[in-house]
Structures are given as C-alpha cells and as structure tokens.
Amino acid sequence: MTATTAMPGVVGPKGAGKGASSGAPRARGPRESLMSRTAAMLVMAVFTLYFLVPIWWLLVASTKSPGQLLTTPGLWFADFNFVENITALFEYRGGVYWRWLGNSVLYAGLGGLIGTLIAAMCGYALAKYRFPGREVIFNVVLGGVLVPATALALPLFLMFSQVGLTNTFWAVFLPSIVSPFGVYLTRIFAAASVPDELIEASRIDGAGEVRTFFTVSIRLMSPALVTVFLFQFVAIWNNFFLPLIMLRSEELFPVTFGLYTWNSQLNQIPELRSYVLIGALLSIVPLIVAFLALQRFWRNGLGAGALK
C-alpha cells in the first residue's frame, strides 16, 4: 500500500464524504452512472424523511404552548414558545433538569469510556491469544445477554443492598460499564484489524503485551472502539431500568429516568407534559454532540487497514 493512504486523515474513497467524481482515477468508472447515483441519493433522501419526521414533530411540539399541542397541526409551528418552555423547564424544581443532564453525562461519558476500554481489552485477548477456555469465556459472555434484564433487577438490587450501595452513583455506574456486546464487537474487529505481524514486531522491539495493546493495537482498533463507545454511551444514557431499581434520590437521577418519572406523573400534573417533550428534545443534543465529535475517528480508522 502506498504511503499516502496509510497516513491518518488522508481522504480516501470511503467514509470521508468526498465525492467519487473528484480526483483519483479509480473513482470514475463507467458503471457509476448518474442513474445509480440518483437512485442511491433518492433512497437516502426518502429514509432521511422517515427517520427525521418524528424528530421534527418533537422539535415543533417543544415550541408550542401546552394548550396548542392538540389543537394545532403537529408538524408545523404555532406560537413560538421555545424560549419560554426552556426557561420554564430549567426553573422547574430548582433547575433539577440541569442536574439530571450533568448526571447523565457523567454516567454515560465515564461509563462509556471505562466500559469500552475493559471490553476492548477482553475482546482483544480473545481475538489475539490462544488459551484454554477461550471459547468458553466467549460463549458465557453471549449467555449473559440471554437473560432479560427484568429478571436480574431484584438480584442486583439485593446485592447492592448487602454492601449498602443502593441509591448511590456506583449502583448505576458499575453494572452499566459491563458490555458483553462490546466484547463481541471488539473481538471481531481486533481479529480483522490488528495483524499478528504487528504484535510480533512490537514484541521483537521489546515491548510488553500490555504496552503493545495500549500503544499499537488500540489505535488500530479505533473505529471499533468509537463504535462501541458510542453504543455504550447511548445505552447508558437511555438505560432506565437500573436507575429505576437503584435510585431514590432525585439528585442522582439521569435525565431519561427523570423524564420517565415526570411522564408517569402526568395524570396528576398535566403541565409536566411540555417539560417532558422539551426535556426529551434537549436530552438528544449531547448525544448528537458526542456523535459529531466522534465521527472523525471513523475516518482515521481508515489507516488501520492500510497499514498492513
């Protein structure tokens, strides 16, 4: 492979948003007809509508005054009360929404980071080392996701009660950093993108196994790690089962669980409705930010294959 494509950040044919028609000779093939491209863009456009219309509805709904939710068309604006609604949300119960948002960032950010790291270490070991019990471990980890979370709620709660850790940060944080799925994904990616020769070369250079992982392998696995992190981040962000069983203090709630709580009180306090809607809309924003911040790593990951 040429040196240019090996350099991180160099725009290749994939994932970089660069059109086929520009530059490199390989991009201009006769079969990538205008029709193919139009068809492709049409498919993407139609599904973009499908994916975004409900979000659009949420955006529009969060700009309406409570009385207009039902009485005005759902997909277009009525009185623009966005600022009023946001202010009301932030002032409600002493701005507890901010606190929830902060908690979520902590649970999901830190949890996603640590969760990804330990899953990657495990997946890497399963992919790159041969040892007895390897497949057993792998299958047991898959077995772990077969039992529905509903069944594990009570045992987990009793376990945390034993050590007096219910209603603490740890009760939500610790179980949520375990991601069997992450182990799966990183194993597949480590097998695909970390060449044995590279590990061998690192060994010859005198680096230890752990050091090799942190200096060489982890970088090669970065597209996978970003994917795992992103999923883990969102999974923790949207997990409401653990907070539901573990937390009693409002100040520890993550944002989605807080919104769920409000939603369940709608029959008593119908005004909460607009807080739930606008709260939900705002709670998507940090996820979008995380997504945008992370997606450049996918591009960097291109170097992974090229290095070989």
Binding site: P13, M44, A127, P175, I188
Partner: protein, 311 residues
C-alpha cells in the same frame, strides 16, 4: 488476514476448541490482565444475578393465615410447571417469533443497504446521513413510542388521510406498528455496526476490482458483503435476542392501543409477574425465555454457518 472476521464468527459459533491447546500458553499474565477487569464485573453483575434468578425460580411461598408471614422454601420445578401451563406466555412467544421473522430481516436489510451506500462513492453528504439515521437511537424509548403513538393516532396524526382509514393500532396491525418503531430506532444502530466493519476492510481489497471496472453493486455483492458477514451475523444474533426481550415499545403501546394486552410479549409477562410481586414465577419465566433465546440464536448461528461453509 482478510478471512479473519469470518473465521472468528465461525469458530465462535461452532465452539471449536483452539487448535494448539496442548502447547503451554504464552503470555498468561497479559491475558489475565486483559480479561480480569471485564471478567470480574461480568461475574458480579451478570453471572451471579443470573444464578440467583435461577435459584429464585425454584422457590415457592408458604404462609399461615390470610396475612401470615411468607417464607420461601425450595419447591423444585413447581414454578416451571406453571410456566408450561401458562397459555398467554406461549402465545406471546409465538407473537414475538412472528415479529422477528419479518422485522429482523427487514431491519438488517435496510441497515446493510445504508451501510453499503455510505461506504460507496454513490452518496454525498455522508456525515449528514450517518447522523440522521443514527439520531432515532438517541431518542429515549418512552419518548419514541409516544411520538409514534401520535403519528399512528387516528384523529391526531399529521397523516390522518391514512390513519383514519387504516387502524394502525388495531389488533391486525399493531404488531407491525411496533415493528416500525423498533425498526426506526435500530436501523441506524445496526447500520453503524456494519458500516464500521466496512471501514475496517483494507481498501486495496476492492481497489483492484474497481480498476477492472466492476460496478459498486458488484463490489458490494461479491466483496464487501462476504467480508462483513461476521458483523451482519452479530447484528442478527443481537436482534434476535432483542426481539425475544421486547419490552419498552409494546409497553408504551399498551397505553394507547386496545390490542396490546399486559402479556403481549414474554418480557411484559415477566415484568407484570414481577410487579405482583411473584419473583419466583417471574424468574422461572425468565429462565425459560433465556433458554428459548439461546436455542434460537444457536440454531441461527448453526444454520448460517453451514450455509457459509457451502459457499
């Protein structure tokens, strides 16, 4: 190197012992360091609770008098007898199977299509599409179901022309309306798994094909799809598991559709049973569901793997 992903999945599926098992294991310490952090937490927060749930499923309650203190005693498989006699539970298992047979292929087909399009030079504005398709996954499940409840509502939907004549929340269609929500939420998620798998394929593998004049469709079909097969299988297995464990979406739908009863999916039955509270029966339901899920995922892997070997 290029066959590695397929190989891994194949081995995982087949549970084939590592070929060099008698040779002393090098790097023991490193392996332990890599596996221990995840391993310990996994044992704590998955394995032990699972074992406790299994134990719980074998307990029955005894008490004296109408308000007597309850004691849990070992009851053998008594709860399992109740599980197998519970017709609504098995009806709900059949329901989610029907759901899965249709929804999982549709969802993964779309995810694969989008991933391939994003990976091809045919599409411009990739960043935007990646984000747009992923955003639904970021919407909290409860909110997503509420939004779609609104979309499907006969009188309030922005598309009343359609919803007034077709009852999306009625007994005939509601399962597919739920399928739509699940698809809406998870297509982007699965797309990203396949997409990042595509990204890890060394480009030179299909550069040659391109130079030979192969079309994008041909490259996708002949080269890319076989290479990302492990990722597709992975998303399939996790989708099968997710289908059998459906809970949040049908639960929200139950609040606005008369056709969704409290035992609509197996996991809803478990949830309802746990709230009675009848922990032992709920645990027995869970164990049976887990075994059914296992049987299904395992069969799926076996079949796909055999097919893979034929090719």
């Amino acid at each position: 190197m290029t066959t590695a992903p397929a190989e891994v999945a194949a081995r995982a599926a087949e549970n084939r012992p590592a070929p060099r098992r008698r040779i002393p294991v090098p790097h023991k310490a490193a392996i332990a360091v890599f596996i221990a952090p995840f391993g310990i937490l996994f044992v704590l927060f998955y394995l032990i609770p699972i074992l406790q749930a299994v134990w719980q499923s074998m307990l029955v309650i005894e008490r004296d008098g109408t308000f007597g203190e309850a004691t849990e005693v070992f009851g053998g498989l008594a709860q399992y007898v109740l599980v197998f006699q519970n017709a609504p539970f098995w009806a709900s298992v059949a329901r989610v199977l029907t759901f899965g047979i249709v929804q999982v292929p549709v969802m993964l087909g779309l995810a694969l299509l989008f991933a391939l399009l994003l990976d091809s030079p045919l599409v411009k504005g990739k960043k935007f599409f990646r984000l747009a398709f992923f955003v639904p996954y970021a919407v909290p499940g409860v909110i997503a179901a509420i939004m779609w409840g609104f979309m499907f509502s006969p009188n309030l939907s922005p598309f009343t022309a359609l919803t007034k004549s077709v009852d999306f929340l009625g007994a005939d269609l509601v399962l597919w309306s739920i399928a739509n929500v699940v698809t809406w939420v998870f297509v982007g998620y699965n797309m990203l798994i396949i997409y990042s798998s595509l990204l890890s394929i060394p480009t030179e593998i299909y550069e040659a094909a391109r130079l030979d004049g192969a079309s994008q469709w041909r490259i996708a079909w002949a080269i890319k799809i076989p290479l990302v097969r492990p990722a597709i299988l992975l998303t399939a297995v996790f989708s099968i598991i997710g289908t059998l464990q459906l809970l949040a979406e049908p639960q929200v739908f139950a609040s606005f559709s008369s056709a969704v009863i409290s035992t609509y999916t197996p996991n809803m039955t478990i949830y309802a049973t746990a709230s009675v509270p009848n922990s032992s029966l709920a645990a027995a339901f869970s164990v049976v569901l887990a075994l059914a899920t296992f049987a299904l995922s395992f069969t799926f892997l076996k079949i796909t793997q055999r097919k893979g070997a034929d090719e």
